[in-house]
Amino acid sequence: MATPKLCGLLRTKTAYYRTPDGERMFDLDSTTACYTCLVTQQPIGPDGEPVDAGRCGADRGCFEEER
């Protein structure tokens, strides 16, 4: 299954590592990953809702491409 496109401002520990393809590493099945938004530096997005790999896709209003 293709990895969904995730917000470029979504952060979690593994995302500071890269896959062999140079992509940020997200383990979508992880139950221990702690996510934050770089804008707020909290697990809360600019829209006041939780952030994680299941919520921070291209359909969210505050979504940004990876810079």
Partner: protein
Amino acid sequence: MSRRVTVELGYPGDTRDVTVEIPDGEPVPWQVPDRFELVGRSTPRVDGAMKATGAARYSYDIVLPEMLYGAILRSPHPAARVRSVDLSAARRLPGVRAAIEIGNDQARFAGQEIAAVAADSSDIADDAIALIKVDYEPRRFAVTIADAAASGAPSVFSGSNLDKPKISSKGDVDRALASAAEKIEATYVTPVQTHVSLETHGAVARFDESGLTVWCSTQGIFSVRDDLAVYFNLPPEKVRVICEYLGGGFGSKFGARPEIVTAARLAKEAGAPVKLMLPRGDEHLATGNRPNAEQTVRLGADRSGKLVAIDLVQRGSGGVGGGSGSSGPFKMVYPCDNIRTSETNVYMNAGPASPMRAPGWPQGCFGLEMAMDELARSLHIDRLEFRRVNNTNPVRAHELDLGARAFRWDDTKSALAKQTGTNRRGIGVACAAWHALGASGPEATAIAHRDGHVEIRCGTQDIGTGTRTALAIVAAEELGVPISQVASEIGDTRYPFSLPSGGSMSAPSNTPAVRQAAAHLRDKLFRIAAPILGAAPSDLEARDAVIRVRFDPSRSVAFKTVCRRIPGDSISAQGERLPNYQEFRPDQAGCQFAEVEVDTETGITRVVRVVAVHDVGTMLDPLTSRSQVNGGVLMGISYALFEMRRMDPALGLMMNPTMDDYKLVGPLDTPKIDVIFLDVRNGGTNTGVLGIGEVVHVASTAAVACAVSDAIGVPIRELPLTPDRILAALEHA
């Protein structure tokens, strides 16, 4: 070009020839028959004296000209709408140079950042914080799992406080449990634990014509650099992050955290450097924690004691964040055909979780191993034997044997069966696993100077685990020089790239890059030495501070003499960490045994001794590794007996955000800790070194908890094992 080499991997008694394909220039992986000068010998830390004398410079120690001091205003309410923030009075205070809103219009936990100031002194900054007027509209809140999960509970966000459960399943658990010869079901509860790093979070930030420079207490200088570059819309080369020394992180110091961004924002607004190091109380409130967990465990076994089903239904809370799962041990430690886990994160109005030393594993291991003990007793099988029966990892099987002998499990068990009196002893055993074999990405530079000293530069950071020492050992071994001749330069984004330090990833990720760089440097030095020795470079070796002809060691030249022939000031070589190739094992095993003594009149528990058995990949330095084990065990004892974030459900506040009230293990609580290492030449990289930060901590709490239950004859299923809980358990036994 690449070449194929066959290497002997494993450990004495269990070795395997593995053929790996490695690029030219990559050193042959260290293997079982290799003998070393430095690797595997106890080496005092190269920076030990710097730390012991106070010469080591932590972010806390940074003082810059014209530097200001920052402070953060935090929400006193667990839930409130922030109607307005008035900074005018704070800005008017003499000595205040910057005041900013953090931008949260909703406070969702007590301690959330609301505003910040920078001033000429920390006292003025504190006074300015007191002058900030915030109009809060307090709201209903929930700070326990039960309250947050209850029907009609106030919502932390717009939707339900309960995330959709994450379910993993293989086999048919219900059917296996129905047909199991023996089964148990119990619920195990673990509290929130805070990191309590000795150095608090924080940074010193400075904007100038070169860009943004940040000295910060971080586990990832490059991750902070990249985050700040994005946040401030700067090219990464305009951001420099420095972390010479780091006073612990345990997972809570990744990326550009709020206090780092806030320090930089204040510095930008003030036009002056700003130091913002958090006070101790803020550490407990807002810098992360290990989530709590309620784990309902069902295990089933056949008559031989073989597990036939493992079922976990869990819920936990990462406060306003997620990541509260604990299923790792249930899926990885004891293989079983039928395993199902269901994990639900519950949002509540408390500080967010962050990664913490083996995220999810200590709490999962506590639940799993306590349940294993309860099932073993139902089956009338010795608890150690029950684990042996259900272990399929050959490394751990060996470790269980080594540990049982060192611990004298059978003899101790027999002796304890005859004990009398009110002080009751008990023993426990728990198994650990981890799965980090490192990653590609890190680079290193090795430099030989004309005076013979060698520098290793790598943009990693030392969270206190001895990274400088590990890198120096690898380089010195490869170059055949004393470690005193090698300096490890780390902690600066001007050095070659490296990854964050966490998850036991540092040693397996960085040492191969350093070894490759040192090997390339050695080859350059061989080309200088070859004409001196009248031999081909390929016939030379570097050992004992000389470069010599391999088949005629009498023909040698001192390493320093060769360096004096360097035509310039120095020569250098690069190394990179390649993707993993074939290894001996894809995982890492361990086990720990504990003996405790419980005063059944006071409920006070003392851990008497611990035997910890761990595979470390290639053993680099037993002395430094032993420190890691000691730390992991003590942290586990602390979690078992003392640590707990206490939230007042009526006020919504943490009641013990100090190091007085948040009880930690101390020197008097330290047991005898015997450490047995299994030196497993694991391959995978050119060093086969593994990190041990996580695996040595995973089982400690569970081993102690199992021992306490053994001592008093009744399981206590909730941590910490405080005297009141022990007395209550005894009363109801």
